[in-house]
């Protein structure tokens, strides 16, 4: 019959892992890489917003109230969704890993609960606003575009909506699973 002490000595007798050469330098490089990626993301978000605002002025969208409203709803809802995602990623990165495991788990659970509230409350509202904006724009699309292109826009919008709902559903499932897993990881 084996005792726990036997298992412990088995554990201790394992071959020692080799310390990677220049390991700390590689980590410093990775950290710099992460910082650069953050800078690039910030840049892309800012540029996209500026381009969209510029586009509104370029096409004189403000001269037609209906078009302005439609574009505002579509672009606005997209920007809000991107910002929510951006803040959420920041929250995850800001989590304090030096807390004890019980406190860290509580933080993770509240993070996932917040995510799920976003998915169930904010996302449907944003999707509805986006679709409303698109529907408002339809008459002006019909008026200014060829019949073929108009049909293409309508069909592709429906396809995009279905694909988006599918992926959002998948994401919700994934995050619900994570939440369950974290809650289950604590056993008495």
């Amino acid at each position: 019959m084996k005792t726990f002490e036997d298992l412990k000595s088995q554990w201790e007798e394992q071959p020692q892992p080799k310390i990677p050469q220049d390991g700390s330098k590689i980590i410093m490089q990775k950290i710099n890489g992460i910082k650069n990626k953050q800078r690039i993301t910030n840049g892309v978000l800012l540029t996209t917003t500026l381009v969209l605002i510029g586009f509104l002025f370029y096409i004189n969208a403000y001269s037609n109230l209906i078009v302005t409203l439609g574009l505002f709803l579509m672009i606005g809802s997209l920007i809000v969704r991107i910002m929510i995602e951006y803040v959420s990623i920041k929250d995850l990165k800001r989590m304090d890993f030096t807390k004890d495991v019980a406190a860290f788990r509580t933080d993770m659970i509240s993070y996932y609960k917040k995510r799920i509230t976003t998915h169930y409350v904010a996302t449907p509202i944003i999707l509805a606003l986006y679709a409303t904006g698109f529907i408002i724009l339809l008459p002006s699309f019909k008026q200014n575009l060829s019949k073929g292109f108009y049909t293409y826009i309508v069909v592709s919008a429906i396809v995009i909506l279905i694909v988006m709902v599918f992926f959002i559903g998948k994401q919700i499932q994934k995050e619900l699973k994570s939440l369950k897993q974290i809650k289950n990881s604590q056993t008495s």
Partner: protein, 162 residues
Amino acid sequence: MTPQEKAFEQIFTTNYPKVFRLCQGYTNGDDALSKDLAQEVFIKCWQHWDSFRNQSNISTWIYRIAVNTCLMELRQKKAVPLSDHLSHLEASEESLSVSKEFQLKQLYQCIGKLSTDNKSIILLELEGLPQKEIAEIMGLSHEAIRVRIHRIKNELTKCVTQ
């Protein structure tokens, strides 16, 4: 190199083996995954450097980061099968006998069956940490840890001898 980078390098060299071994406990001994996890742990150490200065015990600080990182990083990964890895044992220069290798694989398998919390507790115990420190890492009372360690030890020993 700045003084902070020098201190970090020293911490890395001193603690890498134990962090790596702890990560192996979470990954069923998967070498590549444990390496990635250990790297992630040290990235977090650098990112939380300010809180380190306020800590009296560096080992508690690093182990907290390591356990939390493993909990976070492995939350969406499927369980790693045991068959194709543990290659570090075979490639090891220290020749382990076949039976010892088998026993170690069995130990990993039994650790893999434990709940995440129990896994963390027993891995820290196997690493030889005092129970008081394990309690500080887990955020549980010393008494609760003592009782749980006793229970997990029995569970693990039973599993391995089956």
